[in-house]
C-alpha cells in the first residue's frame, strides 16, 4: 500500500465514519437517554430525504435543510406523545415494537406518496463538484458537507448533554418518574423534546444523505442495522463512544476493502498447500475485502462479549 492510496483511504474512512455518526447521533441521543431502541430511526432518516426532496422543489435546498428536520422533529414528537408514551410503562419490548410497526408504516407511506423507485433528489449547485483534488482523486463537496454537519451534530448533542440537565432528568425519570416530577421537572415534555430532537437529527441526516447518496425506499433498511452497531459498540449512553465507534468502523471497513488477503494466502505463506479440496476451502478462500462490510457485526459481537459496556460506555444495559 503506497502513501497515496493510504491517504485517500484514510480520508474515505474518516468521511464514511462521520457519515455513520451523522446517521446514528439521533439514535444515540434517544437510546442513551430514554433507553428506547428506536427501530424507526432510519425511517425518519428516509423521511428527511423525501421531505427535503419535495420541499427543495418549492423553497430551495437551503431553506429545506432547516425546514425538513423541523418537520421530522415535530412528527417524532407527535409519535412520542401519542404512541410511545402510551406503551412506555409496559417496558422496553413494547416500545421497541411500536417503533418497529412505525417503520413498516413509514416505508409504505413513502412508497405510496413518492413511488417505489428512486427520486431525482439532486445536490444543490453549491455542493456539486470537488472541494479539492488529492493525487488526482477528487474529494466531493457534498461529502465534506456531511463531515461538517456530523461534527456540528456532535457538538450540539454534546452541549445538550453536558450543559443542560435534560439528560439527567431523563435518566432519573427512567427509574422514578414520579419523584422527578415531584422535584419540579416536566418529565413528559422532556421526553417528547428529546425524542423529537433525535428524530430531527435523523431528518437532517436524511436531507444531506439523500442527495449525496440515493433517495429510495430501501435507503432506510440499508443503514438500519449498521447504526445499531455504532451505538452499541460505542457504549450505550456514550456520545463520545458512538463517535469513536463510527470513526473506527469507517476506517476498518475502508481499509479492509483494500486487503485482498485470505486465509489461503496465510497458509500458503506458512508453506501449507491449500487447494479447492481442502476442508473448509470456502471459508479459507474469503478475502478480507469480501467480508469488509460485515466486519462491523463481527466487531459488535466481539465487543459485547469481551467488553459489554462498549468502548466508552459506563453501564451494561
Amino acid at each position: 500500500m503506497n502513501l497515496e492510496f493510504f491517504v485517500i483511504s484514510l480520508l474515505n474512512g474518516i468521511s464514511y465514519g462521520l457519515l455513520l455518526f451523522m446517521l446514528s447521533s439521533g439514535l444515540t441521543l434517544i437510546f442513551s437517554m430514554m433507553g428506547v431502541l428506536n427501530f424507526a430511526h432510519t425511517s425518519f432518516y428516509m423521511l428527511g430525504a423525501y421531505f427535503a426532496y419535495t420541499l427543495s422543489g418549492v423553497i430551495g435546498f437551503w431553506p429545506a435543510l432547516v425546514a425538513a428536520p423541523l418537520l421530522i422533529g415535530a412528527l417524532g414528537a407527535l409519535f412520542e406523545r401519542y404512541a410511545l408514551r402510551r406503551v412506555h410503562k409496559f417496558g422496553h419490548v413494547p416500545e421497541l415494537l411500536v417503533t418497529f410497526g412505525l417503520s413498516y408504516l413509514v416505508l409504505e407511506v413513502v412508497q405510496l406518496v413518492w413511488g417505489r423507485s428512486t427520486v431525482p433528489y439532486g445536490l444543490p449547485a453549491q455542493l456539486q463538484g470537488p472541494l479539492f483534488t488529492l493525487y488526482g482523486t477528487q474529494f466531493p463537496k457534498s461529502r465534506s458537507f456531511i463531515m461538517l454537519v456530523a461534527v456540528l451534530m456532535l457538538l450540539s448533542v454534546w452541549l445538550l448533554l453536558t450543559r443542560t440537565r435534560i439528560g439527567l432528568v431523563i435518566q432519573a425519570a427512567l427509574k422514578h418518574p414520579h419523584m422527578v416530577e415531584a422535584l419540579g421537572h416536566n418529565v413528559p415534555r422532556v421526553f417528547m423534546l428529546v425524542f423529537g430532537g433525535g428524530c430531527a437529527l435523523a431528518g437532517l441526516a436524511g436531507v444531506i444523505g439523500g442527495n449525496t447518496y440515493v433517495t429510495e425506499p430501501a435507503m432506510a433498511a440499508s443503514v438500519g442495522s449498521i447504526i445499531f452497531v455504532v451505538v452499541v459498540v460505542g457504549g450505550m449512553g456514550s456520545l463520545a463512544g458512538a463517535f469513536l465507534a463510527s470513526l473506527l468502523i469507517g476506517l476498518v471497513q475502508t481499509f479492509a476493502v483494500a486487503l485482498d488477503y485470505s486465509l489461503v494466502h496465510a497458509f500458503t505463506r506458512l508453506g501449507v498447500q491449500v487447494t479447492e479440496q481442502t476442508f473448509g476451502y470456502p471459508v479459507l478462500r474469503l478475502t478480507i475485502s469480501q467480508v469488509a462490510p460485515i466486519l462491523p457485526y463481527l466487531f459488535l459481537v466481539l465487543i459485547l462479549i469481551f467488553r459489554p459496556k462498549g468502548l466508552l460506555g459506563t453501564r451494561e444495559d
Binding site: 439527567l168 427509574k175 414520579h178 419523584m179 416530577e181 415531584a182 422535584l183
Partner: protein, 231 residues
Amino acid sequence: MLKMENLHAYYGKSHVLHGVTFDVQPGEIVALLGRNGSGRSTAAKAIMGLVDWEGTLEWKGRSLRGRKAYEIAHLGLGYVPESRDVFPNLTVHQNLLLGQKGSGRGSRWTFDDMYAMFPRLKERRNIEAGVMSGGEQQMLTLCRTLMGDPDLIIIDEPTEGLAPKIVELVAEYLTRLKERGISVLLIEQKLTIAMTISDRALVMGHGSIVFQGTPDELRANSYVRKEWLEV
C-alpha cells in the same frame, strides 16, 4: 399556608383517605403520626398531586386541584418520599443538581450548605447514588428536596434506616429549617424525634385525623396513644 379540608383520596378504585382536614402554618413543624397503613403517605402524595383526590387542597390561598406534580413543586412544595427514590445511576452531585429548579439562583440553599450538613455526602459526591448505603441515601433525598428551595417540606419517615446518632442530627436540622422559616410536615412512625421537635402533632387512623394537639397534650392522652399509636 397549607390547607387540607375534607380530603378523600383513591388508589384506582380503593378509597384510602376518608375526609382528612388539617393545616400547616408558616414556620411550623407539624408531625403526622399513625400506624402502618393509616394513610399518612397517601396524604403526602395527594398534596403532591401523585394520587387522585377530592375535597379541598389549598397552598398559599391557591387551589392545587388539577395541577401536575411539577407545577406543585414549582409553587414551593418539597417532598421526600418514604421510598427514597434516589436516582441510582446518577452521582450524588447530579442527584442534588436535579433537586434544583431552574438554575438554582436565588435559592436559600447551596451545594455547600448540603455538604456542610452531611459531610458524608461531600466525601461521596462523585459516586453513583445507587451504591450508597441505605442511610446515606436517606440523607441524600433530604438534601435533594432542599435544593429545590421549598417553603414547605413534606418528609416521609426520614429516620428510617438511620443510625441513632444520625437520627438526632436529622432532628437538629429540621429545627434549623424551621428557624429559616420553612414549614415541615413530618410523617413519622417513631415518636422519639417527632415529640421533641414538632409544634403540633396530628394522629391519623383509618384514613382520617383522630387527634390534633401539642406533643404535650398527646403525651398526656394515653387513650389516643394506646388506640392509634402503639407503644
